[in-house]
């Protein structure tokens, strides 16, 4: 069977198609159909010719098979140092092989490649840091995912996620109206406690344009409320956009290049339209990577930058605390052993390693912060990055992958883990659920809100 009704090479374009795919619980029929999905070898060959440029080809050919990357990969370490988990092997046996064979691969090969691309690599890019040649397997795996997506060999949830972006311009089925309505609702709910709290919508020329993760709208609107309250208390001139508010990109995890471009352009359009001085994104790692780091290239921006200066939430928060826009009540600082999860996507891959530690100096009582080992750019992936968290098919592998982080946390002795990244937050929650090591985990917003001093003129009148 060349193409299945659910598993095929066509991206999801309509809400109806999305619902049909969603109704296939756990992707049962989808994966069944995948077993007989044909590989379009001509398309694969042509795509490689057009898109596989000198960087990847050079990387693949200069790899000395030295094995220095092996120990850098947490999959390798937790899987009894299985040689098949060495990053160089993983990429050479999949992408390397496809290129060497000029796309002449079969269904079984593509299944193997899919499992390698989504269950043996989270695109955390740690191996790239340790390779003597600077070969970045994470980047190549992202590329491989694109080839696999195009051929229809993509995990069910990833296909749905990319489809959500195509249909809703968001990673979940949240409409623009629902986004605005939810934000207004949060203002309503908090305006008594914080008089004057408003949600400025589509304000042109604001200092800050705030972008979010659709999950906050769908399940944790408190996060929106906390963001709004902290901007309010800091006296910021901020706004949200009624269109192009979603900063994340499951399309990036899925390898749906066209949807990546479409998604990030919706955010850039909002920037062009509202002309804010800066964009601040929520506490999410991959959203930052998608919109700030990689997005400009997807959108074909020559300078490699978003239309306006774009920063991560931790950068804004550190600045607000540094400049005194937000003041912490020293009596309410964290006074228990606490550690920090460094998100790969904005720490290792975007250099924000000291910013989060600066925040810690403001919000944690001296002596209570314990760093994980290793940390900063050497930190390990939470275990659920790159879409791994969401894929039911690879749940077992994912749970095993959480062990590295679990042991890192246990060694710190901390009972509270700061996780200023949605993906890390999820993975750490799941590792607690799976291994029950007795920890709590939190974004920064709720903690800061609990300890910030409210300026006299913003207090409710009794």
């Amino acid at each position: 069977m060349p193409e299945g009704s659910l598993c095929n090479k066509q991206p999801i374009q309509t809400d109806a198609a999305l619902k049909t795919l969603l109704s296939d619980t756990g992707g049962r029929q989808y994966y069944q159909e995948m077993k007989s999905l044909d590989v379009d070898r001509g398309l694969l060959r042509d795509t490689i010719e057009k898109t596989c440029k000198s960087r990847i080809r050079t990387w693949l050919s200069i790899c000395a098979h030295c094995g220095m990357c092996a120990d850098s990969c947490f999959f390798y370490r937790i899987n009894d140092r299985d040689p098949k988990q060495v990053p160089a092997y993983k990429i050479q046996s999949t992408l390397g092989e496809i290129i060497r064979r000029k796309g002449n691969v079969d269904n079984a090969f593509m299944h193997m490649a899919m499992e390698t691309a989504w269950a043996k690599c989270t695109c955390c890019n740690r191996c790239g840091l340790y390779c003597p040649h600077g070969i970045d397997m994470g980047v190549m795996f992202s590329y491989l995912r694109g080839l696999l997506y195009q051929q229809g060999f993509v995990p069910w949830e990833m296909k749905i996620g990319a489809g959500m972006h195509r249909v809703y311009n968001a990673q979940m089925d949240v409409t623009d109206e629902e986004f605005i309505d939810t934000f207004l609702w949060m203002a309503e709910e908090n305006e008594e406690e914080y008089p004057g709290l408003t949600i400025p919508i589509d304000k042109v020329g604001a200092d800050i344009l705030y972008t979010v993760n659709a999950r906050e709208v769908k399940h944790y609107p408190e996060d929106l409320a906390q963001a709004a309250i902290l901007f309010h208390l800091a006296g910021e001139n901020w706004t949200v956009t009624s269109k192009g508010w979603e900063q994340t990109s499951l399309a990036m995890f899925a390898g749906d290049w066209a949807a990546c471009k479409m998604q990030v352009e919706s955010v850039y359009d909002a920037m062009e339209r509202l002309k804010p001085k800066r964009m601040v994104g929520t506490e999410c790692g991959h959203a930052h990577r998608a919109t700030v780091v990689e997005g400009p290239y997807w959108a074909g921006r020559k300078d490699g930058l978003p239309p306006v200066e774009s920063i991560h939430y931790v950068e804004w928060l550190a600045e607000a605390l540094r400049t005194g826009k937000l003041k912490i009540d020293p009596a309410r600082r964290i006074k228990e052993p606490v550690t920090l999860q460094d998100s790969c996507n904005y720490v290792r891959n975007h250099g924000l390693k000291e910013i989060t530690r600066e925040i810690i100096r403001y919000i944690v009582e001296p002596g209570y912060f314990i760093d994980m080992s290793p940390n900063r750019e050497h930190n390990y992936c939470c275990g659920g990055g790159g879409g791994f968290n969401g894929i039911g098919l690879y749940r077992e592998q994912r749970n095993k992958a959480l062990i590295t982080k679990r042991d890192q946390i246990i060694k710190t002795g901390a009972k509270l883990v700061l996780a200023p990244c949605h993906n890390c937050w999820d993975a750490i929650r799941d590792l607690e659920e799976t291994y029950q090591i007795g920890i709590r985990w939190s974004f920064l917003k709720p903690l800061v809100l609990g300890m910030v001093e409210i300026p006299e003129h913003l207090k409710p009148k009794e």
Partner: protein, 304 residues
């Protein structure tokens, strides 16, 4: 007064007492009732896996599962849902308090009825502080009165006849009074107004002299007349009392002695509720936990 009831339920025996009251009200007042259940909290990021709060199991969420849960709820309340009753069963996925508030914002019920504890089981539910905290968060933010039935409603035989209104003379208590008075007039009830004078200070240092206490009681009675009795015009079916002690204990004792079938109190929205560890702060919350009749808490004026 009660034309639309939102009954938020875990569909377990933890909500049985609440169910008895909610369905009784729907039948008695010919109201539409939404029996609303939050299936569970989504996990695994954007995946379709949900931890069912009732069973603690991970389930793959789809329409079938939703329908199954709805069927189960209907079966569970089968003996209470009368054929003539205008009843809908709704389910959702998410954090329980958030989804209850979301639905309430959409449907604008006249009252939210809930059990005191969701009866969620397992370490997962405990860690996520679901148990008991849902009603705190709903009571804090809801735009309509919230009725909680935490313990067997011992003196509730159906309908309302004796309403206790507990006041601390705050703004939210005034709001609660307006509602309690309306209720008493509409359903022809006796309205029992109580102020519980807080003398817990004596345990710490100063022992109040009895003269001092008597004086405060006199003042409280004046307040009651000024704030409430003056507004009741020709409504005569009421009693006014001031009891001294620990406020929540006095309110619960008073309600028991008067065979109250309902307590109405204000809920201070600005007061932070606990620290997420299930600690209950306000007097209203303590009363909710302890009273053996339904308790309505109100945090803001009810638009008429």
């Amino acid at each position: 007064m009660f034309k639309k009831i939102l009954f938020a339920t875990s569909a377990t025996n933890a909500c049985d007492h609440a169910a008895r009251v909610a369905f009784d009200m729907a039948r008695r007042y010919n109201a539409h009732i939404d029996a609303f259940h939050v299936i569970g909290v989504p996990t695994r990021g954007f995946s379709q896996v949900v931890v069912d709060l009732t069973t603690g199991e991970q389930v793959a969420l789809d329409d079938n599962y939703r329908d199954l849960v709805k069927e189960e709820i209907r079966a569970y309340y089968d003996h209470q849902i009368k054929p003539s009753m205008d009843c809908a069963i709704e389910v959702a996925v998410g954090e329980a308090h958030r989804e209850i508030l979301r639905l309430a914002r959409r449907t604008q019920p006249d009252i939210i009825v809930m059990g005191g504890s969701t009866g969620a089981t397992g370490a997962y539910a405990a860690r996520r502080n679901i148990t008991g905290s849902t009603f705190q968060q709903v009571a804090k933010a809801a735009h309509c009165p919230v009725m909680v039935i935490n313990r067997p409603a011992g003196s509730f035989w159906g309908g309302f006849s004796n309403i206790v209104f507990g006041t601390d003379f705050s703004e939210s208590a005034d709001t609660a009074f307006a509602f309690a008075f309306d209720l008493a007039k509409t359903f022809d009830c006796e309205l029992l107004l109580l102020h519980a004078l807080d003398i817990t200070g004596c345990q710490i240092n100063t022992l109040h002299s009895q003269d001092d206490i008597d004086d405060q009681i006199r003042k409280a009675r004046q307040q009651m007349r000024f704030r409430y009795i003056s507004k009741m015009r020709d409504f005569k079916n009421y009693e006014v009392d001031v009891w001294e002690g620990i406020p929540f204990v006095e309110i619960v004792k008073y309600a028991r002695e008067k065979h109250a079938d309902l307590i109405v109190m204000g809920h201070h929205t600005r007061k932070k509720t606990g620290d997420g560890e299930g600690a209950l702060g306000s007097v209203a919350e303590q009363v909710i936990l302890r009273a053996n009749c339904p308790v309505i808490s109100i945090n803001r004026p009810i638009p008429r």
